[in-house]
Amino acid sequence: MAALMDTRILLRKIKDLRSLTPRRNRVKTKWAGSLPKYPATNLALQNFDATYKLQLGEQWPSVRVSLLCEQKYGALSNNFSDNEGVIAHLQSQGCRDIVSCALDVGTRGMAASSHDKPTSIESITVSPDMPTVSLSPNIKCLVFPRRDVSRFKPSRPDAHGLLGYYLMDAASILPVLALDVQEGQSVLDLCAAPGGKALVLLQTQAIRFLHLNDISWGETERDTFDRVLVDVPCTTDRHSVKEEENNIFSRVRTKEKQKLPQLQLELLLAGIKAVRPGGLVVYSTCSLSQLQNEYVTERAVHLAREELGISLQVADLRPLTQLFQDTFNFAPDPYLGQLVLPHLTANFGPIYMCKLQRLN
């Protein structure tokens, strides 16, 4: 292929064309040539092309285009606000609550465990050989249907200044649901800022004590919590291919990026130490990277046993993900944990989660 000519030749007066042409179609004075030479987003893409093509094979192109396109949001209903009208309005626009849909999927055709008194947790047995899944019906997250690319309007405060809903990646409620919080439990959110998943946790209205932590984790409270969420810093894949600002692939952050798996491992181990025997830890990231997902989890389980004497059991998340098949596009054969793969028809994620139960 012949070399591209210098784009400067294109610098010309475009005034007369403007009124004829929709703005975006107007002759440009500059094409790609003027962009920074090594934008971090490009570096991220190169890195992902190299690693994810191997990891995801034929699925990678579909995931790649989804990462590069507008993501889909979910509207997490704020139970503490007066939002019935707002929610009804969203429903009239075609939104549906993915949690109640999942509950429907679960109860349909399956033997649902009966409840004598209403509680904040509903239990579902998906199939006879699968363990029971419990979902908090208090968590409501509304999304537009598959293939629908409508956007939510920003939520407006009610009479008391409370927002009716929060917009977030709908897939990020999954790690919280996986945490399976029961009435009256104590929960640690180890990497809480900016607080998205903490909000989801609060919606359950089941938590007796919620400890929110970020950055400085002193190892003071061992063997304490019923539930620990370890939502670690990661390569934030979607952000990294789209935004230059605060991009972990920028040259200056190379070291930090290289140290991520180590930091993630340390954080997960800290979470494992903080949970009580019998309690649950959910590890989650918003990256597709096996190095940051499966390998970290595997290594943590190994180190916990070898060095801390803590045995962990990896819980099966399929009963949970089966309930959300219609909403999310899960990676087909994960060998450890579950991964929501972005797809244009359901552009949520990526979200990785792995659930560990501490045995002793």
Partner: protein
């Protein structure tokens, strides 16, 4: 044969088109009479060999049903043409006869003429002389027998465009986009609608292909780039690019992956594009198109905000824009 003065269009050279003239509704003879006349085209203005019957060629006469039947139209076709002609409120109706004859001379048969008028009723009102000039001009631009008739049948509005416009677009392609004369002919042949497209849009599409897709003029022509809407071009290209299947070549023309040819992803039906090139589902592409439309809309809105109020007060003065800066160009590569 008598030849009417002033109808200089009828300076034809012989060409091998035939026109079957069916006369019906005539008193005598009762049976339809078939007569064949040779038709001529006007590549050489000095030659003077008309051979159509004067009755058919008479320009000033009313466009009567009989005249149309004499020309070989069926009853239904004739009625249709008359109805159309009458809509023009009489004033220019005398053009119709000369216009029709010019089309016959071009080599179109009655049914093609009817189709032309159906597709583009405005042709009805084009003065015969102008029509002939426009046809001559298209020949001058390289549309030769066969191609010329196909273009006219396929895209009759081409006959309604002033010479000035047509030549300006041809010149734009040559001078601004560095297409060769031959390539311009091919563009006009394959995508005559460019003649009615805003030049700014054409240039944008060209630039998009040149800089973003990274293809040269011959490939643009081969893939019939100008037949595809800009949105479609960008959708298919961006879809491949975002899937990691297409890269803009660098300054040396190199890429890390092997790009599919523009011709293979643009000049094929969507199904082929999706199955063979993008390897994606139709569902994905459908959503992608919706998302792209939104992205572009937002780009527009953003630019709107950036450029502010001063941007919309310029008039569209094609001529001026044409004169200006035509010298800047793109390297020609064959």
């Amino acid at each position: 044969m008598s030849f009417l003065p002033g109808w200089h269009v009828l300076r034809w050279t012989l060409r091998s088109a035939t026109c079957t003239v069916l006369s019906r509704r005539q008193n005598i003879p009762q049976q339809p009479v078939m007569s064949t006349c040779r038709l001529y085209c006007s590549t050489d203005r000095r030659t003077n060999q008309p051979s159509l019957s004067p009755k058919q060629l008479q320009p000033g006469r009313d466009l009567s049903l009989q005249a149309l039947l004499d020309m070989g139209f069926t009853d239904a076709q004739a009625d249709q043409i008359l109805e159309q002609a009458n809509r023009s409120r009489g004033s220019k109706i005398e053009n119709a006869a000369s216009m029709l004859m010019t089309l016959f001379v071009l080599g179109l048969n009655t049914s093609s003429v009817v189709k032309v008028l159906q597709k583009c009723p405005e042709v009805m009102y084009v003065n015969g002389t102008h029509l002939q000039q426009r046809i001559d001009n298209l020949r001058r631009l390289g549309l030769l027998e066969g191609s010329l008739q196909r273009v006219v049948s396929h895209y009759p509005p081409i006959l309604t465009l002033p010479l000035k416009r047509v030549n300006m677009v041809a010149r734009f392609f040559r001078e601004k986009c560095a297409f060769t004369v031959q390539q311009v002919t091919e563009i006009l042949r394959d995508s005559p609608a460019v003649l009615q497209t805003d030049l700014g849009q054409l240039e944008y599409k060209f630039q998009y292909a040149y800089f973003r897709i990274g293809v040269r003029q011959p490939e643009m022509v081969k893939s019939k780039l100008f037949r595809v809407t800009l949105d479609e071009v960008r959708c298919r290209h961006s879809f491949l690019e975002r899937r990691g299947l297409y890269q803009t070549p660098d300054k040396k023309g190199q890429t890390c992956i092997i790009n599919p040819k523009l011709n293979d992803f643009l000049n094929v039906p969507e199904e082929t594009f999706l199955n063979d090139i993008a390897k994606a589902t139709q569902e994905e592409f459908e959503v992608f198109q919706k998302l792209m439309a939104k992205e572009w809309q937002e780009e527009d809105d953003e630019q709107e905000r950036d450029t502010g109020a001063d941007s919309d007060d310029d008039d569209d003065d094609e001529e001026e824009e044409e004169e200006e800066d035509l010298k800047s160009g793109y390297s020609k590569r064959k």
